[in-house]
């Protein structure tokens, strides 16, 4: 069992009257990639800001590598790297100056700093851009530079707040590669995202966060499996009756009415159950208009736990009837 590197207990954070974080507790193991998945405004960034000592702990406890973020913020800062959600590069500094500035902020010895800059610029493939001002970099290059910056001090934990927001699919894949690579070398990764595919593909564990609370957490595969074998979407002539009738079948875990039809979560192979359901409905005088079936995706997990979808999801967004309101 690996050591716990981040431990958060009963964290509550308010902005005025709004409770942005409501009693959040979780632990992250050393060497893990852990994601906070949730919509904008769910409280992800607030948790990151508290953990990175930018916001004070109002209530609860949080510690990183054994240091309490309130008691020993200095020790915590020395052990973490951060890639902020928005670009936070000085437009008028060059790539190498940006990294040098960061190294100096952390009081790195000169020689180490120089070799680290050399190494990181290579890793994030910015070797030809050493002396380019950051304002002349593309969006993806800026992100890569920020990741390199976050790694300058070889942190125990790297925080990535929405690391691929606004980037094209190709660049996202490359960033994911870097994240995996960094993680393999031993850095614990804590990332927040509102992209389902990102959380799904990158994380060892995911915490789904909504309205300032963790609604569920676990390995992506477990979260999806918990939803059953298959999801069956039907549009019928009488949706509410269809749920009542089909739910008598043992293999059906749950049935839920949606805007355009019903969705059943089934515990067996859907291809075998589906004909039985259609027959059963027809016997009861209910016509089936459209059929769709798929394995549960992270979207489904999210919808299941929060009762809604994340708007503006990633490019490789999974199908679900609600996201195609015009379909018929």
């Amino acid at each position: 069992m690996p050591d716990t590197i981040i431990s958060v207990n009963g964290l509550i954070h308010r902005y005025g009257d709004t409770e942005a974080v409501r009693n959040i507790s979780f632990e992250i193991a050393d060497g893990e990639i852990f994601s906070f998945l949730g919509p904008n405004g769910a409280g992800k960034s607030t948790v990151i800001n508290v953990l990175t000592t930018l916001l004070p702990v109002q209530q609860g406890h949080a510690s990183i590598a054994g240091f309490d973020v309130m008691v020993d913020p200095g020790e915590v800062r020395r052990r973490i790297g951060i890639v902020f959600q928005e670009v936070t590069l000085d437009r008028d500094m060059t790539v190498s100056e940006t990294l040098a500035f960061h190294g100096m902020l952390y009081d790195m010895p000169r020689d180490l700093m120089k070799s680290r800059i050399q190494e990181l610029i290579g890793i994030v493939e910015l070797s030809g851009k050493r002396d380019t001002l950051t304002k002349h970099l593309s969006g993806g290059m800026k992100r890569r530079l920020e990741i390199a910056r976050g790694l300058m001090t070889r942190p125990r934990v790297l925080f990535l707040d929405e690391p691929t927001i606004g980037l094209d699919p190709q660049t996202r894949m490359r960033i994911w590669d870097y994240i995996h690579q960094i993680n393999r070398e031993g850095t614990t990764i804590f990332l927040t995202t509102h992209y389902m595919d990102e959380a799904d593909q990158l994380s060892d564990r995911i915490g789904i966060i909504d309205h300032g609370q963790i609604v569920t957490s676990g390995k992506p595969i477990d979260l999806k499996n918990a939803l059953g074998q298959d999801l069956i979407y039907l549009e019928t002539t009488d949706n509410s009756s269809a749920i009542r009738i089909a739910s008598t079948q043992e293999a059906i875990i749950s049935g839920e009415q949606k805007k355009n039809g019903v969705v059943f979560i089934v515990s067996e192979d859907g291809t075998r159950i589906l004909p039985r359901i259609i027959d059963l409905l027809r016997e009861n005088g209910i016509g089936v208009l459209t059929i769709n079936m798929k394995k549960p995706s992270m979207d489904d997990v999210f919808v299941h736990h929060t009762g809604r979808e994340i708007r503006d999801a990633g490019p490789e967004k999974g199908f679900s009837p609600k996201s195609r309101p015009g379909r018929r």
Binding site: S45, N49, T52, T53, L54, L55, P56, G74, R77, R78, I80, I82, F84, E86, V87, T88, L89, D90, D92, M93, E97, F101, H102, M104, L105, Y106, D107, M108, P109, R110, R149
Partner: protein, 279 residues
């Protein structure tokens, strides 16, 4: 070799100062323009008005350009240092300050780093004004020996440094507290007016109404101008129909006043920085 924290902040600010060519150039040319236009224009008038006034024997009479050049140095230092902290507001709004605030760097290092950068800019400007003033015929360092000139220049640099630190600390405190650049601009403009005009930078204060006289007597800008005139023109001279004499007491009092002001501003800045939350 490791770098002290404030040097890191200083280094970046200087990097930007040198990199923004227009900023660099304008900040160096602007004070020279003040001398060239306002100085010469006013000088012509004042010299005309005071031409009839007899100069007491044995006193060094200085022309208005010489008299006001100390004021121009003071004004330039005031503007440079009051605007010096603005960079922090932009860094805050652009998110750049988050990197710094999340690092182990102490908050005092940020304050001192920006302060140091403004001191360098201010001293540079002061030296340019001195140089340009000599070209325009300002009678600096009358009858000084080379070593006396060196002491005088050192004294000028000392006064400019302490004063600039005081106002950049104030500026930093305001910048870290405020949200909008427009608001900050307003506050700083509001501050510069009374500080500049309720002082002896451009004219003597003896003829002021009582209230204004009290304000200007405790005005840090007056302290600075006292020091500058003492070192640049001498301990006693005659200008604008009036005799000026600065003894050691006045100079030490002025410097003490500036030091007290600067320490006070540093405490305020530190208080604001410790409370500042940047997300």
């Amino acid at each position: 070799m490791r770098t002290p924290g404030f040097v890191v902040i200083f280094w970046r600010d200087m990097l930007r100062f040198v990199r923004f060519r227009t900023l660099l150039l304008s900040s160096l040319v602007q004070p020279a323009l003040w001398m060239a236009f306002f100085g010469i224009a006013m000088s012509a008038n004042f010299n005309l008005l005071t031409a009839e006034i007899p100069v007491p024997s044995g006193l060094n009479e200085v022309n208005y350009l010489t008299f006001m050049s100390a004021g121009v140095i003071a004004m330039t230092t005031l503007f440079t240092s009051l605007y010096g902290g603005i960079t922090l507001l932009f860094d805050k709004n652009w998110g750049l300050l988050r990197e710094v605030f999340a690092s182990p760097l102490r908050r005092t290092d940020i304050i001192i780093g920006i302060g140091l950068s403004v001191v360098v800019k201010s001293v540079l400007q002061a030296l340019i004004i001195l140089g340009f003033g000599i070209l325009l015929g300002v009678q600096y360092f009358p009858g000084y020996s080379p070593s006396e000139v060196a002491v005088a220049v050192a004294g000028i640099i000392l006064f400019v440094t302490v004063f600039a630190l005081g106002f950049v600390f104030l500026s930093s405190a305001i910048s870290i507290t405020m949200e909008s650049p427009e608001g900050l601009q307003g506050v700083i403009t509001l501050l510069t007016m009374p500080i500049f005009f309720a002082s002896n930078a451009l004219y003597p204060i003896e003829a002021f109404p009582d209230v204004l006289m009290v304000i200007s007597a405790y005005n840090p800008l007056t302290f600075l101008v006292n020091g500058l005139r003492y070192f640049a023109i001498g301990d006693s001279f005659f200008a604008l129909g009036k005799m000026y004499s600065y003894g050691a007491v006045e100079v030490v009092t002025s410097l003490t006043g500036l030091v007290v002001f600067t320490v006070l501003m540093f405490s305020i800045a530190l208080w604001r920085f410790r409370r500042a939350v940047v997300t």
